[in-house]
């Protein structure tokens, strides 16, 4: 069975590293991008099975990136989990409005992240 591909979009190398450490325990190919523009470009080029998207990033924020991905037929149906900061409820609402499927709050909980990823990848 082909390994599932996950795109991680975050401008913090520390958060990207943590996501990679957690998800490398699963059978996934991980791709990273460090802002929304790069995230959109890599999503179109790599066609991931799932995207984890940070909110606050340079060049293009997470909401803008999700809107662009939803507008493109190639990425319209890719599940997107928004990574947002705890206690910022307005980000959750804006994330759903932009088209994300779910959200996880920082600081990341390894079990929660892995469980949501597995759910969206049908595992």
């Amino acid at each position: 069975m082909a390994r599932k591909k996950i795109l991680l979009v975050d401008d913090s190398p520390t958060i990207l590293m943590m996501e990679q450490m957690i998800l490398s325990k699963g059978p996934y190919d991980l791709i990273v991008a460090q802002d929304g523009e790069e995230g959109v470009a890599k999503a179109l080029a790599e066609r991931p099975d799932l995207i984890l998207m940070d909110v606050v990033m340079p060049r293009l924020d997470g909401f803008g990136a999700v809107e662009r991905l939803r507008a493109d037929p190639l990425t319209r149906d890719v599940p997107i989990i928004m990574i947002t900061t705890r206690s910022e409820a307005q980000n959750v609402e804006a994330g759903f409005t932009s088209g994300c499927n779910d959200y996880i709050t920082k600081p990341l909980n390894g079990l929660e992240l892995m469980t949501k990823v597995q759910n969206y990848l049908g595992e």
Partner: protein, 134 residues
């Protein structure tokens, strides 16, 4: 005057790093991975602080927000809640146009980051000693 309040504490009031959060990292990852994360926080922190200074000088709300949010995320990962709270406050004051107040928080941010760095470096030394003992 630093302008720091509430969670934005000074070293003598609350610990710079929540020991439970560090403990969670230890439980979640092997010591080698934990050390990589701590080194990443220590490596990225000074760059974010420098970015914040540049953004404050330029009165660039967006750039300040990006740097503050990135440092905040890393701070929360290691349980550095006062540092996280200072990042939030600084970005909020800048968004509100309170640039002098935001500028006044930089000293508190530097002081807080120094406390976090001291604790994380101690944690790295402890991890190395534990590795040597195995």
């Amino acid at each position: 005057m630093s302008g720091a309040t509430g969670d934005e504490r000074h070293a003598h009031e609350r610990p710079a790093v929540d020991e439970d959060a560090l403990g969670d990292l230890q439980r979640l990852f092997a010591s080698e991975h934990e050390a990589r994360l701590l080194r990443s926080v220590l490596g990225d922190g000074p760059r974010r602080l420098a970015d914040m200074r540049v953004a404050l000088t330029a009165r660039d709300v967006d750039a300040l927000g990006w740097a503050a949010e990135a440092l905040r995320g890393a701070a929360e990962l290691v349980g550095a809640r006062p540092l996280s709270a200072l990042c939030v406050r600084l970005a909020r004051e800048a968004r509100a146009g309170n640039w002098e107040l935001a500028q006044g928080l930089v000293g508190a941010l530097d002081e807080e980051y120094a406390s976090v760095r001291t604790r994380l470096e101690a944690e790295l030394r402890r991890g190395r000693r534990a590795g040597d003992a195995e």
